[in-house]
Subunit: 248 residues, 2 copies
DNA sequence: CGCACACGTTGACTTGGATCAAAGGGGCTC
DNA sequence: GAGCCCCTTTGATCCAAGTCAACGTGTGCG
């Protein structure tokens, strides 16, 4: 066993970057692929990259060459206007893809920042297109992922365009809950990785409004919240909040 | 040459649906393809469909099987919430694609309505994927189109999340102007195909607010507006409007 | 281990855009 | 070509969320 390393030197990093022994297959690009197909993906997903909290994965304006799959950690993407206004356009967790915005102009159009120490798999885009031409399942799945991003964005537009503050926060919490559930975590209890200001930016609200809405939910027994620790006590109550009152 | 028609009967409808003699090539899917490649596309874009004003191209919940390219006319897409709230998610003009939202779940996730008598080319999606595996240029261009849609949505999120009413309308008018220009129309003078209410829905505003903003722009000499007819008098003025004042 | 600083909460006041209301204007139909 | 209905404009009032301010709190750094 020890001399196997000598004959066929498999470095730790190579083992680590293989899709075929990654437990995120069902959430990530390999979804629906056969074992042989996933092995082809292995060659493509060449490198991992570790990021510390606060570090940028990419910045708006940089050349685009790869998309990234979140292997561990938590990210935000944001867009900046010349006058300094910032809008958080999304939060990404394990298995989700980053960088799709860059395909269009071959320049990244937003910033991607790690909200905690994280790790991503780098997927060189031209290789992905090449393999997509060979593996129909991969091609179709990739198209679905892009389309899902468009649908998600429409949901956010709906939220920003028609919902009041408390509805927005309820929608946000329910969405997080659902995504944590899909990853095997508790649907009811989680730590927020982002600040009130970042939540506000995503929801089109000021941080004070976010904070007040949290407090209100707590008063009403919908959630228990202390700083970044959230526990959902009444999911149906939160859902009900979203489906009533028309926009003020 | 004349008997070629007898041997291989080319009906008018076949001629009509061919990408290879469509003047929208530079705006639409065929962009960047060689003549031979465009001829392959011809087989794929099998049918056209005419829609009268107000008619739905597809509705949320319907099965997805094709995307559509706007051949002529003008569309809106919208999403509805259970409680009746509506959000217009986009306006589409010639050469733009409709239906990308349906790929993700194989169900359309929004409604698409013609705002004037219109015509679309139907592109069966499985055929498009097939041809994308053969023609790299087509594949890449299609990915760019999807990515562009994501970037556009981020722009709308920014608008809805951080801009005040007048900035939103200025951004909207400048965007229309730019898209009309790309189609060979006047950058400064155009007819809106949508109502104040639809503009408001897209911009997250009430129709009265849209109307007041139009009036204000007119008072300030930025535009001349009468009903749906708009003339932009001061483009730099409109641009300046967008880059100042932080969100109230 | 303690101090600093970023983050979060809460209160008082302001305001931009929503709401309610009412009165033109255009264009399509019959 | 008359009438109707939808679209649009404009005014008066209201309210949700923003702003400004001051005070907690937790955490990470030296």
């Amino acid at each position: 066993m020890p001399n196997r390393k000598v004959v066929q030197p498999i470095t730790l990093s190579v083992i680590k970057t293989a899709c075929s022994n990654c437990n995120l297959q069902e959430l990530c690009l390999p979804l629906g692929l056969s074992h042989e197909e996933v092995e082809k993906l292995d060659e493509l997903v060449s490198t991992r990259r570790r990021l510390k909290r606060g570090e940028h994965l990419y910045r708006a304006g940089e050349a685009f060459s790869a998309i990234y799959a979140v292997r561990s950690g938590f990210f935000k993407t944001d867009v900046l206007l010349e006058d300094g206004r910032e809008q958080v356009t999304g939060f990404q967790m394990t298995g989700e893809l980053l960088g799709l915005d860059g395909i269009s102009t071959e320049l990244h159009s937003c910033n991607s920042v790690a909200l905690e120490d994280s790790e991503v798999c780098t997927i060189p885009f031209s290789h992905l297109e090449g393999l997509s031409r060979e593996i129909q399942t991969l091609q179709h799945h990739f198209h679905k992922v892009m389309s899902r991003e468009i649908v998600r964005d429409h949901g956010v537009m709906m939220l920003l365009g028609t919902m009041r503050a408390e509805e927005r926060l309820a929608a946000f919490l329910l969405n997080l809950s659902q995504r944590f559930t899909a990853r095997g975590y508790s649907p009811a209890e989680f730590y927020l990785r982002m600040t009130r200001e970042e939540i506000g930016s995503y929801l089109g609200l000021k941080l004070e409004t976010v904070s007040r809405a949290f407090s209100r939910f707590q008063e009403e027994g919908l959630i228990a919240v202390q700083q970044k620790h959230v526990r959902i006590l009444n999911t149906p109550g939160l859902k009900r909040l979203m489906n009533h009152h028309s926009h003020g």
